[in-house]
Symmetry: C2
Subunit: 305 residues, 2 copies
Amino acid sequence: MSFDLGAYMKQRADAVDAALEHFLPAETLRPETLHKAMRYSVFAGGKRLRPVLVIAGAESVGGTAEQVMPSACAMELIHTYSLVHDDLPAMDNDMLRRGRPTAHVVFGEGMAILAGDALLTEAFSLLAREPAASAAMPAGELHRRRLEAAALVADAAGAAGMVGGQALDLQAAVPGAAPLDAAGLRDMHSRKTGALILASVQAGAVMAGAGDAMLPAVERYAREVGLAFQIVDDILDVEGASADLGKTAGKDAAAGKPTYPALFGLDESRRRAADGITRALAALQEAGLEGQLPAIARWVVSRTN
Amino acid sequence: MSFDLGAYMKQRADAVDAALEHFLPAETLRPETLHKAMRYSVFAGGKRLRPVLVIAGAESVGGTAEQVMPSACAMELIHTYSLVHDDLPAMDNDMLRRGRPTAHVVFGEGMAILAGDALLTEAFSLLAREPAASAAMPAGELHRRRLEAAALVADAAGAAGMVGGQALDLQAAVPGAAPLDAAGLRDMHSRKTGALILASVQAGAVMAGAGDAMLPAVERYAREVGLAFQIVDDILDVEGASADLGKTAGKDAAAGKPTYPALFGLDESRRRAADGITRALAALQEAGLEGQLPAIARWVVSRTN
């Protein structure tokens, strides 16, 4: 029997969805509209890649999904908040996301801003939440690792990471701004998309007790996967149809946004993504890390949506 | 020599400003505009009430300002982000704050949204940051208390707290919405303003090693102070001149927003604020808490801006 990554990802994503359902405030609680907007955006059919990476990161060092479930959910909330704010009229002005009207179209701009704020804040509540006691780790050690994970997630999500990447994106879109070159594009993507993917794998590994020798390998793996993920996103934006992606295909290119295919062509972009995954797999193998991280890396370059 | 609260608050606020200067990313770092927008909003001449409350909360149980300085700064960043987002066109649409153009007027709406996001995220980076080692507390205990403080700040800032309060405010401003009654007004304010004031005092006390018996008194104190602060804000909005407040006086009333003076009249509003402070002082005295919390409470009702 060969390993079925699709079944693995589906099982983990379902567990994440159940946990999110539990953690998010009910729509019947005041303020109802805020809670509705939060849930509308979170339960929009995402792949749950970041939570699955938290779990796979934990499993790669011998941990379990249960150990890191609140943090796995936190990463999805941060990802979701970034999409909600990115779609706003003052940012990318997107009306459609995953085939549905975006949050500000449904709930209004003010409520969409607040829903994003609340999702980001709730993420840190989950990261700080007392984890289930673990027989494998003394309480003090568990608390130290939890703080370390929360700090690296905050740094990845903030001005030095994801928000900084969105600001670079916004600056580059100002009329008259110099277009990003290859180095600028890589910097922007490594912040905007890569930082959160990196922090997901790192947080899972740190919380599950990764030894110091494992962490550099985890970091090399996650950096390569994050970049490859973004390159494939750019390729799919050029190739894809609107229906498959659930958003307007070719939109980035039409908006004059720099993309890998625009800078390097499709073939060279595909080669760069594949080379990155080869390096990611080598890093894991050298460090002797276990589990599904290699299969997830292969999926990242072969995915069609 | 009587105690000089003004000098105490000025000294603590200056220390907070120096720490904020150190913690915030430099304006010369990319993306420059994001960092400029963050600093423009943080260094706008605020009173630093929330950081001072973190420090006073720590001192009230025998701790020091140094022990809690990153968290004190975190509360100011959360307060600042809430003002930046609250001022946006899709929310209160304010052009002026503390006598200066608001962040979105200066940096554009998209950058103001991102600056708020970055400030909120940076706050959790500071809350999770390793504190200075303390001879008075074992490391494991310090980590546990740090996590507990981060969790209660997140809950106070999120959908159950501050963001929830802003959503209630936004819902009440929708044309045709039922106006808030006294209970609704109190709920809205206890979330929008009170929750963060409460969390400031609590976080300081928790991190400095407050015993379980002290925490209920800290909570009673901070709830009363938070409510009184808001009542006085409403009174100043009615009485104040635009120049003193640095914002448009009477704006809340003109916008049809419910206020304490509108519901109860000025005299009854003043009486309610004073009664709250009396209860706050009684709570401190019963628990034998030390330091400047009583003086700060008295300042809250006597302030003129």
